[in-house]
């Protein structure tokens, strides 16, 4: 393949392109959710698609998260490839019964007779000052559920290509899009891009400490790595990409190289995904560690509205760099 030039685009536009491609290439695909059609999508990700594909395939749903998610399960059982959009992770709790008790369970419970090829997309995370009922990061919870896959595109490239990979799965895939990423601009290398949902990616190689993160935290983790580089500390940045199943090989590969790790996770600290990663490092790479694995997570608080408190709640580059520094150059 000749090296075509990269395209300048946004995360939002990359998702829209992926949705358009999915709708155009597979008649079984349809998009369903609140305001995906007439409104153009809460984050404008599906803008224009109603006009292009019509109301049957870009299907505005009433405020009924439980029923339309369950309808996604049923449509998947019926041979379709539904993409259900839930506006925000806080609202997904209304649909969780269908996700856990049905989508994730039906295949195993039926003895393997049926499968649920359902994709659910939702926005997650803080950073837009929308306060305590619209800002949380609960993807770690979903990563606990057997039977589903959970991914978090952190880059424009993953935003562009993960959807197609998700639609190729026969099992439910949840895609978490961080709400602050939609507007991010960047270069999209020519496709088709990396399409697996299995591997974490080393976004920046380094030798002294591994910074393991995903989704909305990737940007500030890279920023922290930059700062550390300025201080002569070489940090490797691992983007998990897939939160379930976790790519242990890439994580441990990095830890075995650097012997130190900081997990950066926007979830509330206790019981966040960071804990699972620390547990696995304990189980799989304990004797490789030169220091205990550290983590930088959100404060355990319903996320408040004012910017300064929101910033005080979620991980910031400063805190990430500080945590890394304290492992590499312990005090005293």
């Amino acid at each position: 393949m000749t090296a075509a030039p990269a395209t300048r685009t946004t995360y939002r536009e990359a998702i829209r392109t992926a949705l358009r491609e999915a709708l155009a290439s597979d008649p079984r695909v349809f998009l369903m959710g609140e305001d995906v059609g007439c409104y153009g999508g809460t984050y404008a990700a599906s803008k224009g698609l109603l006009e292009e594909f019509g109301p049957e395939r870009v299907r505005d749903a009433p405020l009924s998260e439980l029923a339309f998610t369950g309808a996604g399960v049923g449509a998947a059982l019926g041979g379709m490839r539904p993409i259900v959009e839930i506006m925000t992770v806080n609202f997904s709790l209304l649909a969780l019964d269908q996700i856990l008790n049905n989508a994730a369970t039906l295949r195993h419970m039926s003895g393997g007779q049926v499968s649920v090829p359902l994709v659910i997309r939702m926005a997650t995370g803080a950073g837009r000052q929308v306060a305590a009922q619209h800002s949380h990061s609960l993807e770690g919870w979903y990563a606990h559920i057997p039977g589903i896959r959970v991914v978090a595109p952190a880059t424009i490239e993953d935003a562009r290509w993960m959807l197609a990979a998700a639609l190729r799965e026969l099992d439910p895939v949840l895609i978490f899009e961080h709400a602050t990423l939609y507007g991010v601009e960047g270069d999209l290398p020519p496709g088709p891009g990396r399409v697996d949902l299995d591997r974490a990616a080393v976004r920046r190689p380094g030798t002294e400490v591994s910074l393991v993160t995903y989704g909305g935290m990737l940007g500030r983790t890279l920023e922290a790595a930059d700062r550390l580089a300025g201080e002569g500390v070489s940090a490797e940045v691992v983007d998990l990409r897939t939160l379930r199943p976790l790519d242990d090989a890439t994580i441990m590969g990095s830890v075995r190289k650097t012997h130190r790790a900081v997990i950066v996770d926007e979830g509330w600290r206790s019981g966040s995904l960071s804990a699972e990663i620390m547990a696995r490092v304990m189980e799989q790479a304990f004797y490789e560690l030169d220091a205990p694995v550290a983590r930088v997570c959100s404060a355990e608080v319903p996320i408040p509205y004012p910017r300064h408190l929101e910033e005080a709640t979620v991980p910031q580059a400063d805190a990430i760099a500080a945590a890394a520094r304290s492992l590499v150059k312990p005090r005293g």
Partner: protein, 325 residues
Amino acid sequence: MTAQLDRDEAVGLLRSMLSIRRLEEKSAELYSAGKIRGFLHLYIGEEAVAAGAIRALTPDDAVVATYREHGHALVRGMAVRAIMAEMYGKATGCSRGRGGSMHLFDAALRLYGGNAIVGGGLPVAVGLALADKLQGRPRVTACFFGDGATAEGVFQESLNLAALWQLPVLFACENNLYAMGTALHRAQAQTDLCLKARAQGVPAEAVDGMDVLAVARATDDAVAAIRGGGGPRFLEYRTYRFRAHSMYDPELYRTKAEVEQWRQRDPIPAYSESLKRDGLLTDADVQRIEAGIAAELDDAIRFAEESPWEPAENLLTDVYSPRPA
């Protein structure tokens, strides 16, 4: 209405009801013997509903049921062996033994469970119907659920979706007047369930669920309307469960007299008598049917007893699908 059924069909309804009754009576025994475990919900008393309703469907149609679904599986065509082995938890069961009594699945019969979350099957049925509509298939999805499920928010949400999108769903409500120990009038301020369906734009009708012919007639009409593109329909089958909610239930919430009164309306003897009156059935026929059912049951129990367990090494099989190539 027997006029509209030929003799085989008319007797078939009786056979269906009897098969369910005998299967469940036996299941209760096997539960006491510790062969069947976990939760077991008997359908005894309600047989006319599954027997009368499911025959209105074609093999291409789909059925979604609850944890009280042995009858639905049987009438839909599941072999007694597959049901019995499933209740035993054996690898030869319809769900490989993993689901047990509450989770009878058969993809070939388009029986999508056996759902044990009250109301959990409703939106799934809506989605199955949506898939049919989007693919232009003239199929109907029948979703069975109880009076209790109509109190769950998902009931209203699901009916609205089906009506809004004019989807081919039969909402088949088995109103047996109780949700576990909670009588309908103690659970809902408005006990006319048809009103709730209509308030979501779904045409609704109530029918005597103890009269298998009334069930058959109403369901035929509803399914014809749905298949004709008329959107969803709601049928309230008024029925009663003669036995406890599950095998744990001490039945503190209703009187013996009430149960006795409903037993007077047992759907099986009444229908059997009417067939005899119409000259469609003899005592010898009944004996032959009973013998056939008993033989099938014996065979199924033997099959279940002799069947292997799923090896524990397979525990994780089918949590995920094999990755497509």
